[in-house]
């Protein structure tokens, strides 16, 4: 049971850390100064969530691993983030699509998580919910602006959606870890979010005059450490310092 809880928290932590890492790459290179600030802000929220979650995961594991050991000293195949968050930034439309798909899931997710029997998770959820609401609003506004903007922006936004769509199915997967913890009242059943997610996405795409992709094959594997090739390169940057200078204080 403790193992399952550890694995579950780690997934949430990895999702947050990896998305935060990706967003951090934008710094100083965004299309406007406001977005430089905005994306850094979203990145910061995710890093903050990752810290709380990794710390709690370390506590649950009980082997003395802290947030940094869990983030910087695990190997590629041990990371259990979903594939969506590790996808490259691409152009601004891809970054926005990735964020929108993810936050449209995470807002209802954290809302439900507030009722978790696990008090720490419930407390993390209460804070994360507010952040997710902002992330969703921010990204949805951009989806609409780009979708209903110029011909070029519409095409880029639609391309980004098609590119990332196959990675959205994984958000709703529930393996045994999730099922057991849902039954215990600890975890959120992702299936219970599907309708709301589709409604949010559908509504925003409607306003944005974008087309909803057809349901198709969903990419999967992140939860069991089978990532895309992009992920290993992200790790080389993220983990370099802790790998090159093991065991030091910073």
């Amino acid at each position: 049971m403790k193992d399952l809880l550890f694995a579950y928290i780690l997934r949430l932590a990895d999702d947050a850390a990896i998305l935060g890492q990706r967003l951090g790459e934008w710094c100083g290179h965004a299309p406007t100064l406001e977005e430089d600030i905005g994306l850094a802000n979203v990145a910061l929220d995710h890093i903050g969530q990752a810290r709380a979650l990794y710390s709690y995961a370390g506590e649950v594991e009980g082997k003395g691993r802290d947030e940094d050991q869990l983030c910087f000293l695990r190997k590629e195949r041990e990371f259990s983030n979903c594939l969506l968050v590790e996808q490259p930034n691409g152009d601004f439309a891809e970054t926005i699509a990735r964020q929108f798909f993810f936050s449209a899931f995470m807002l209802p997710f954290w809302e439900k998580m507030k009722a978790s029997k696990d008090e720490t998770l419930a407390a993390i959820a209460a804070k994360a919910e507010k952040e997710a609401a902002y992330h969703l609003r921010h990204s949805a506004e951009w989806v609409i602006r780009l979708g209903d903007g110029t011909e070029e922006s519409r095409e880029r936004m639609q391309d980004a959606i098609e590119l990332l769509w196959p990675f959205t199915g994984e958000l709703f997967e529930a393996d045994d870890t999730v099922k057991v913890l849902v039954a215990e009242g600890v975890a959120v059943d992702p299936a219970s979010i599907r309708d709301e997610w589709r409604e949010t996405v559908g509504k925003v795409f409607g306003q944005a005059t974008l087309e909803m992709p057809e349901e198709g094959w969903a990419q999967t594997g992140g939860r069991s450490g089978m990532h895309t090739e992009h992920f290993g390169h992200l790790l080389t940057e993220m983990q370099y310092m802790q790998r090159a200078y093991p065991g030091l204080k910073w």
């Binding site: 100083g28 965004a30 299309p31 850094a40 890093i47 780009l146 070029e152 370099y240 200078y245 204080k249």
Partner: protein, 312 residues
């Protein structure tokens, strides 16, 4: 001439000048130049620090660095707003930056080579910036003065954070302490140059002093910085890379060696280690983002015209 005298009287009386008040053209120009240079410095300054966000050694430091860089973007925004009150649009100012016409602080043309540089920037570069900026909190132009009050508060937080980062490294291991010493060696002299040319070579000083845009000379501020910083370096157990540095027991000031003004001039002219790279990064961000800004504009116009139709 009468208006000019009245204006100077208000300044001498420590009154704040506000955007709608009459002001001499030179005053306006000087302020636009100074405020926009300052804004540009915040923006370009995001790059050397941004270079380490993806490699920060701990999550706590990554968060702090993200927050710091975000603050710098925010400072850029306040300052562009202050410049806008003087009739200089952001697009125009940005255009001047990208074309190389406008300057930004030369310090950001040096590279961040190790994680210790992040601490060194906080400690030395933000430290020097604060020395320059604290007097600007009392600047005669209201919007600039108010922006500086806010900015100084945040900068001083960044400065302490940078120093604490270096302290942690120096106390953690000899290898890290060497990284810190190396960072100090590379950032010390460029930090001293941040205060601008020596008083005897400074062009704009006298008039700016009269207008209370400036309240101390470059050399005065530089000396304040050296006096504040040398003991901090010693507390870290570091050596300032200046063989001529010594405490003048009489004046209580730390006397420092000759600054290499040819390096200062060269980097200012465009031949620093990263000038081209910084400009290329900003230009690329601007070009890559063009379609996004166009889309946002197109959307907001569509929205307006739709609203217009509904109203009609």
């Amino acid at each position: 001439a009468e208006r000019g005298a009245a204006f100077q009287a208000r300044i001498d009386n420590e009154e704040k000048i506000e955007p709608n008040d009459w002001m001499p053209e030179g005053y306006r120009k000087t302020l636009v130049r100074q405020i926009s240079q300052h804004a540009h410095s915040e923006i370009v300054g995001m790059l050397p620090e941004g270079n380490w966000i993806t490699r920060a050694p701990t999550l706590k430091r990554k968060a702090a660095l993200l927050a710091k860089v975000q603050d710098e973007g925010g400072h850029g925004l306040y300052l562009y707003s202050a410049a806008e009150t003087l009739g200089a649009s952001r697009e125009e100012l940005n255009e001047q930056l990208l074309s190389g016409k406008a300057k930004y602080s030369s310090i950001f043309n040096y590279p961040t080579l190790t994680w210790a540089d992040i601490g060194a920037i906080g400690w030395l570069v933000d430290g020097a910036a604060i020395m320059n900026q604290i007097p600007l909190c009392r600047c005669s132009f209201g919007p600039y003065s108010r922006a500086m009050i806010r900015i100084c508060k945040e900068e001083s937080f960044h400065q302490r954070q940078g120093y604490e980062l270096l302290l942690t490294m120096c106390r953690s291991s000899e290898e890290q302490k060497e990284m810190v010493q190396d960072a100090l060696n590379r950032w010390w002299w460029p930090s001293l140059m941040m205060f601008g040319p020596s008083d005897k070579d400074s062009q704009h000083s006298a008039q700016s002093m009269a207008w209370k845009i400036k309240r101390f000379t470059n050399d005065e501020l530089r000396q304040k910085f050296v006096d504040a910083t040398v003991p901090q370096a010693h507390y870290l157990g570091l050596t300032i890379p200046d063989a001529d540095l010594k405490l003048n027991e009489e004046t209580g000031h730390w006397e420092y060696g000759e600054i290499d003004w040819s390096e200062f001039a060269r980097v200012l002219k465009g031949d620093g280690p990263c000038n081209k790279q910084r400009m290329k990064a900003r230009q690329k961000a601007h070009e890559d983002g063009a379609w996004v800004r166009e889309a946002a504009l197109a959307y907001s116009e569509k929205k307006k015209s739709r609203r217009g139709q509904q109203a009609a």
